[in-house]
C-alpha cells in the first residue's frame, strides 16, 4: 500500500515539475532577451547582472568548450545567439561563410579604447565584424629547477636531455604550427612539403614527449610533473602565480598570437542590443573587471592603465612589441585542414 502511495506521490512531483517548467518557459516578459555564447568561465558573471539592470535587457548566457563546437552549433542553424566570442581563424571562416553581421562601430563608442595594434588584424582587416575581447600568445612554460639550458627557442622541445619531461599540446594546429615556426615557415602554410618536413620533425620528437595534453597541462606543470610544456600566455600567468618556479617564454622564432573577439552571428534577432552589450564590455571599468577575473590580457588601452604595474611589466601577459614581432595570427586553413588532420593522425600512430 505504502509503495503505491509513493509511486503516486513521485508521479505528482514529476508532473508538477514539468508544469512549473513549462510555465516558466512561457512566462514571457516584455524585456528583450539577449543570447550570449561564450567560452566556459570566461566572463565575470556579475558584469552580466549589472548590464541587465542598467539596460533592462535579459541575458541568457551559454557556454562552449572549443571554437569548433561553437561553429558546428551556429552553422547548423536552429538557434539564435546574439553575441559570440570565437577566436581569430574561426572569425575569418565565419566571415567567409557569411555567418556574421557587420558591426556598426558608431554604436560601439568604446571601440576607441582598443589599442591600435589590435585593430585591422588579418582576420578582420577593416574592423567590420569583430571587437577584440581578450588576447594572448602561445609559448613555452618551463620549470626553472628542472631546466638549466637557456629557453629561447622551440628547439629545446627536441632536446634529448629532457626526454619524457616534455608536454606537447594535443592540438594539430598548435603543435604543427610551432614546428613550422621552428623550421622558419609560416604557421599558416599550405605547402605540402613544408608540412611534410614538420611531420618528420614531430615524429622524431615523439619519443621525447611525455604526453600530448589538453587543458590539464596547467595542473601538470604547477604540480611539477614535467619540465617543459607548450601553453597559452593567459594560463601561464596563473601558473606562475601557483608555482613560482615556472617561467614563460615566447621563442625567438616567433609564435602564435591569438584573439578572442566579440562577434554578432547572422542568426541574431537583436543586433542593436548585441552592440550595446559589446560596447558595455569595452568600457574600461568593465573590461578591467573581466581581465582581472579571467587573468588573460586585455586589448583595452584604458584598462591596461588600471592594471597592476607588476603585471604590465612582466612580459608574460603583456609582451613587448619586439617579442611578438615574429608572431602570426592563425588564418582559416579551409581544405588544408584535411592534410593537417592526416599528418597528426600519422604522428600519433607512428
Amino acid at each position: 500500500m505504502k509503495q503505491k502511495l509513493n509511486a503516486k506521490l513521485s508521479l505528482l512531483v514529476i508532473v508538477s515539475t514539468l508544469l512549473v517548467l513549462l510555465l516558466t518557459a512561457c512566462g514571457q516578459s516584455d524585456r528583450v532577451t539577449l543570447k550570449v555564447f561564450n567560452w566556459g568561465d570566461y566572463m565575470d558573471t556579475s558584469i552580466i547582472a549589472d548590464f541587465e539592470k542598467e539596460y533592462n535587457i535579459k541575458v541568457i548566457y551559454s557556454t562552449f568548450a572549443t571554437n569548433e563546437d561553437m561553429y558546428v552549433s551556429l552553422k547548423s542553424g536552429g538557434n539564435s545567439y546574439d553575441v559570440a566570442f570565437p577566436s581569430d581563424y574561426m572569425i575569418s571562416r565565419m566571415i567567409n561563410e557569411d555567418m556574421l553581421h557587420t558591426i556598426d562601430m558608431n554604436n560601439i563608442p568604446n571601440y576607441k579604447y582598443i589599442d591600435d595594434k589590435f585593430k585591422n588584424l588579418p582576420f578582420d582587416s577593416n574592423n567590420e565584424y569583430s571587437v577584440p575581447y581578450l588576447w594572448g600568445t602561445l609559448g613555452i612554460v618551463y620549470n626553472k629547477t628542472m631546466v638549466d639550458d637557456p629557453v629561447d627557442s622551440w628547439e629545446i622541445l627536441w632536446n634529448e636531455k629532457y626526454s619524457k619531461q616534455i608536454l606537447m599540446l594535443d592540438s594539430q594546429r598548435d603543435s604543427i604550427g610551432i614546428t613550422l615556426k621552428m623550421l622558419g615557415y609560416s604557421m599558416n602554410t599550405k605547402e605540402e612539403d613544408q608540412l611534410e618536413e614538420a611531420k618528420q620533425k614531430l615524429i622524431e620528437q615523439k619519443p621525447l614527449v611525455l604526453a600530448y595534453v589538453g587543458d590539464e597541462v596547467k595542473d601538470k606543470m604547477v604540480g611539477g610533473e614535467a619540465a617543459l610544456a607548450v601553453v597559452w600566455s593567459g594560463d601561464a600567468v596563473a601558473m606562475k602565480w601557483e608555482n613560482p618556479d615556472l617561467e614563460y617564454v615566447i621563442p625567438k622564432e616567433g609564435s602564435n598570437l591569438w584573439f578572442d573577439s566579440a562577434v554578432i552571428p547572422k542568426s541574431s534577432k537583436h543586433k542593436k542590443e548585441a552592440e550595446m552589450f559589446i560596447n558595455y564590455l569595452s568600457e574600461p571599468e568593465v573590461a578591467f573587471r573581466n581581465t582581472d577575473y579571467i587573468g588573460y590580457s586585455t586589448p583595452n588601452k584604458e584598462t591596461m592603465g588600471m592594471l597592476d604595474q607588476e603585471l604590465i611589466e612582466d612580459s608574460t601577459a603583456y609582451p613587448s612589441d619586439a617579442e611578438i614581432e615574429n608572431c602570426e595570427v592563425f588564418e582559416d586553413l579551409s581544405d588544408t585542414l584535411q592534410i593537417y588532420d592526416r599528418i597528426w593522425t600519422e604522428i600519433k600512430s607512428s
Binding site: 566556459g40 551559454s62 557556454t63 572549443t66 536552429g78 538557434n79
Partner: protein, 260 residues
Amino acid sequence: MRFLKRFYLGLIFLFLYAPILILMVFSFNDSKSRGNWGGFTLRWYAELFRDREIMSALYYTIVIAILSALIATAIGMVAALGIHNMNRFGKGLVINITYLPMLNPDIVTGISLMILFVFVNMERGFISLLIAHITFNIPYVIFSIMPKLKQMNQHLYEAALDLGATPFYAFRKVILPEIMPGVITGLIFAFTLSIDDFVISYFTTGAGVSNLSIVIHSMARRGINPTINALSTLMFITVLLLLIIVNKRTANNSGKENVI
C-alpha cells in the same frame, strides 16, 4: 571464504571510491590548481551558491536525468516485452537497430540528432535535449530487461491468463515482479548516463538550457573551477544520506522481499 569475499569487496570499493575521495578533497583546496595544495578553505562552497549558471545547470541536469530515465524505462520496458515476443527475424532486426545508439560515438548521435531537429524546424532547448537523452537511454533499459525475460518461466503468464486474469493484471502480478530487478537496473543506468552526458547534450540543447556536463567541459580551457568539486561533494553526500534514510525505512517495514 567469508573473509576473502569481504576483502574482495573492499578492494573493489577502494578502486571505485579512491577518485571520488580525491575530488572531494580538492573541493577544500585553497588553490585553483589540482597540482598545488594551497591550504584548507570553504570559499568554493560559498561561491557555489552565488553562481547562478551552475545552479541552473544543476536544475536542468536533475530534471532531465529523472524525466529521461523514467520515460526511457517506461518505453523500454514495454518495448522489451514486445521484442521478446517477436519472431526470430523481427527480433534480430529490432535488437540490431537498438544497438546503434550504444554503438555510435556520441558525436555521431549528437550531430545526427541535431540535424534532425534542425530539419523538422524544432528550436533546440529543453524538449530536444530530453528527447535525445531518452533516445540514448532506451537501449540500456532494453538490454537490462531482456535477460530477465529470458530467465522468466514462460508459462507463468499463460497460466495466469488461463485462470482468468486480465492481461494487464497478469502482467502486474506475474511478469513485473520477475523482471523488476532488470527494470530497476535499466532505470539506474538511464539516470547515470543522462547525468554524465556531454557531447550529445551539447549539440541537442539550445541557449539557456545547459546541464552540468556542458558547464564543466566548457570550463576546462581555463581550468575546472573547484566550485564544481564542492558541488560534487554535496551531491555525493546528499545521495549517501538519502540512501541511508531509504534503507533504514525499508528495513523497518521489512518482511517484504527486496526487489533489488
